[in-house]
């Protein structure tokens, strides 16, 4: 039987399920705490929803029904025994398939790791389990997180719930689409050049790239080690904050993890929701806007800036001249590191093995396996990076890119001497059509133009929906950037803006997701 229904909201037609899947994580947590609903009921509702909309969305690579229900039962038992593990205990979550899970496969969207179940949990995975969060499954992504559309997944693209002919962003399109399709109330993404924020922007959801080192990378399958950062995704700023506090914090297993107290992001989100931004200085980045940006995106951004002014923020324009070189620097540093990080996929110890028929040398098997196991974008970046690191080219490419990185960091430092946060559109355009940019990698790379500087500098950054573009009716994201370890500023400003936006636009943006075909 096929029917159509809106997101997860009350008009879904499957009243009980919709009543639960339409709630925010904070609302679910409150109901769980009050004993009005059990985690098993919530989890079942989400599993049903996943079964119904997955054929249309394909947000998941793996759904662990049994494991999720078992975790839900444990959460209920713990709560009944008066020892709920955290505020989010019993709340379901979708995990990007780039974080290791000892009880589920971890493929990174690649044939190379098809069917591979890691022998250990990532620190993020462990913290989620310890908080009693229920892991529904693993979400789709561009292969090894390389891409901006999830079209580079070896297992087929994920579709954007706002328009299933369009991409959900990438690389973490699966996590954001799962939120927008009400298949999960919370999700984890990873962001190397925008892979949390850009999907958040084009799916009308909230995505946060915490300060580099704020969340452990132990168990995050590396794309570009100096840029990768796991972070929370949610349908609201408060939900993202609740999740942020669960996964953040120092981890001795990650040497680049920051050994400092986690910023008080939940408190900041609650404070921001009160709607007062007086005394907050907001800088509009001159270099991130104007020519090349979609008209509707620019209009939505300007409206958001006006909204911030109306909330009492002091808005000024700020110049970050080196941001113009960010994309170029990124496409040298990230491929360089990836060429080295992905060298380990050699058929020797785990994953795919091709051509091992007894007649070939180890080197030949390695070569055949890598030829067969990696998709074209991954190969492109490995080759780019191998070239950039080569003797004789290192200084001109990798070396120069690191200098640009330093200059961009200085731009941020100088800007944050004048303002508390910086803002820009999250992406230059709304979601493009599936297949539209596959043949043109350079055009694809432009999707990360605004998000990349924060990765290069390692500071905190959020995308919060700013409404729909008036020309195509698709979601637009407002990017908020804060200094390293000042993640709380994102949540204060983001929550204030979100509340004002909903008030001005007549309700939560996410509830305007069109109806999805239901299986």
């Amino acid at each position: 039987m096929t029917s159509t229904a809106s997101g997860g909201g009350p008009s879904d037609g499957r009243t009980d399920t919709a009543a639960l899947t339409g709630l925010t994580a904070a609302e679910l947590a409150a109901k769980l705490a009050a004993g009005e609903v059990s985690s098993v009921e919530v989890t079942r509702a989400y599993l049903d929803r996943i079964a119904a909309v997955e054929p249309a969305v394909h947000a998941f690579l793996h759904v662990d029904e049994e494991g999720a229900l078992a975790a839900a039962r444990r959460a209920d038992e713990d709560r009944a025994a008066g020892r709920a593990s955290s505020e989010l205990a019993g709340v379901p979550l979708a995990l990007k398939d780039v974080l290791t899970t000892s009880d589920m496969p971890t493929t990174c969207g690649s044939k190379m790791l098809e069917g591979w179940t890691p022998p250990y949990d990532a620190t993020v995975t462990r913290r989620l389990r310890e908080a009693g969060v229920v892991l529904l499954g693993k979400t789709n992504m561009d292969e090894f997180a390389m891409g901006s559309s999830t079209e580079n997944s070896a297992y087929g693209p994920t579709r954007n719930p706002w328009d299933t002919e369009r991409i959900p962003g990438g690389s973490g399109g699966g996590s954001s689409a799962a939120l927008a399709a009400f298949e999960a109330p919370l999700a984890i993404g990873t962001d190397t050049g925008g892979s949390i924020r850009q999907p958040g922007a084009v799916t009308g959801t909230v995505g946060v790239k915490p300060t580099y080192g704020g969340v452990s990378r132990h168990g995050l399958v590396a794309f570009s080690s100096s840029l990768d950062q796991a972070g929370p995704c949610g349908r609201t700023v408060l939900d993202a904050a609740l999740l942020h506090e669960v996964i953040a914090g120092h981890d001795p297993l990650d040497s680049t993890s920051v050994d400092a107290p986690v910023p008080q992001v939940v408190a900041a989100a609650r404070e921001g929701a009160a709607g007062d931004l007086r005394g907050v200085r907001v800088g509009v980045v001159r270099e991130l806007g104007g020519e090349g940006y979609q008209e509707g995106v620019q209009r939505s951004f300007r409206a958001a800036v006006d909204q911030l002014t109306a909330l009492g923020a002091e808005v000024v324009e700020v110049s970050c001249p080196h941001f113009d070189y960010g994309l170029g620097a990124y496409y040298l540093i990230a491929p360089s590191e990836c060429s080295s990080n992905l060298a380990r996929f050699d058929a020797m110890r785990y994953g795919l093995r091709v051509g091992d028929d007894g007649s070939r040398s180890a080197e030949e098997v390695m070569s055949l396996t890598r030829e067969a196991g990696f998709g074209p974008e991954v190969k492109r970046r490995i080759m780019l990076g191998t070239y950039a690191l080569s003797s004789g080219y290192y200084d001109a490419y990798y070396g120069q890119a690191q200098k640009v990185r330093t200059l961009i960091t200085r731009d941020f430092t100088a800007a944050f001497e004048q303002v508390d946060v910086l803002v820009s559109p999250t992406t230059p355009t709304t979601a493009f059509r599936i297949g539209e940019r596959v043949e043109n990698p350079m055009e694809m790379y432009l999707a990360d133009l605004c998000t990349i500087p924060s990765n290069l500098a390692g500071n905190a950054s959020m995308s919060v929906p700013s409404g729909l573009s008036d020309e195509d009716g698709l979601p637009v994201g407002l990017q908020i950037m804060a200094p390293p370890m000042a993640d709380d500023r994102l949540y204060r400003v983001g929550a204030a803006y979100e509340a004002a936006r909903d008030a001005a636009q007549g309700g939560a943006l996410i509830d305007r997701v069109p109806q999805l075909e239901v299986a």
Partner: protein, 501 residues
Amino acid sequence: MTAVAEIMDYDELLERFDPVLGLEVHVELSTATKMFCGCATDFGAEPNTQVCPVCLGMPGALPVVNGTAVESAIRIGLALNCRVAEWCRFARKNYFYPDMPKNFQTSQYDEPIVFDGYLDVVLDDGETFRVEIERAHMEEDTGKSMHVGGAAGRIHGAEHTLMDYNRAGVPLIEIVTKPIVGAGERAPEVARAYVTALRDLLRSMRVSDVRMDQGSLRCDANVSLSPKGSAEFGTRTETKNVNSLRSVERAVRYEMRRHAGVLTAGGTIVQETRHFDESTASTSAGRPKETAEDYRYFPEPDLVPIAPSNEWIEQLRETLPELPWERRKRVQQDWQLSDEELRDLVNAGALDLVAATVDAGASPAEARSWWVAYLSQQANTQGVELEALAITPEQVARVIELVSEGKLTHKLARQVVDGVLAGKGDPDEVVATEGIEVVSDDSALQAAVDEALAAQPDVADKIRGGKVQAAGAVVGAVMKATQGQADAKRVRELVLAACGQ
């Protein structure tokens, strides 16, 4: 192709060329855990039992630096008179090889932890030669491949290859010398003396097992020749698989002679890796380095820089033990050795053994005599290092004790030592089972005593007059006459008795 040239006579080559050496020594640290994970590092464990996601290069695994290894690296640098970097990083050395789990080695590249030092090495004649140290840096070891089937252990013809990753990630320190010039004819000896000195130093610091036979100390010897008087270095070769101190010397000597032969015949030296063959004392070409390997080094983004504070460095300096050269100086004083005696002791590789024997109760003179003379001969005969002999310093000390108690003569003591070396047990067991004891033939001794008293009538009178301490001179004469085989205590009794005491 270069024509096959004769290797040149050593003396002839020295007339034409000056050798330049460069020695790279890899030392496996004896830390309890690996360089970047918590896995154990025990030698000889079952394959793949000391592994984890980090040292297997599993997706998502991250390295965490072993603090003890960093301390060892700094301590080694301090002992080698190096400067310690104020700030340094790890780098990735990228190349594909099945025994390297990540297909890059986490190493240090242009930012070593310690650099610019020297080691004064003592040559066989007691001369000191200063070897300058370029740098010492930290890195991780690789796994081990075992080729199964086909010719013994060689990759060609092997049916398949097994991998053991227990060694993957074991901490290594690579110590690199600056070009060693001016050693001339003594270049091979300098090479051996340097590795020996380094081994002794690291052993005294207890930072490594320094077992060349087990690979915990590995030496690559770079050799090149310059035409006599020329300041320009020739093309170098790098000889690997040099598994003993003696091989270091022989490999350098062979390469010098081979280079000279090739160059004199008008050929050119190919920059390549060569393998030393212990049985033929020669080298053979390994992997040719036609194109310089491009390792695409870049700073390791998974690790943060190391910035040792001055306080920390000074604390580590405090932990340095008495270093070999300090020890030699002290021993020379304590044991009152001449320069020659000290040199013989050091050359015999007997210093530690003698010290241990002294610690077990023996006199330095007796202990030194046993190790440097009789036991060194036995080691030579057996073709093993002195320390490899099947006798412990404690056992030697016991033999010395038995002699001083008069239970053994020197001659019998050698029989006991031979028994211990033959695996017949402890000295006391050998004495018991072999029935070795001093046969006191008083009649023979009596004659010698009478003779000695007759030769020294004034001394005899003194003893008769009650000056029993004068008996020593007579005892000495008897011992000399009997070539030390008599029991000194019994001789003394006989002397005193003959003088009515």
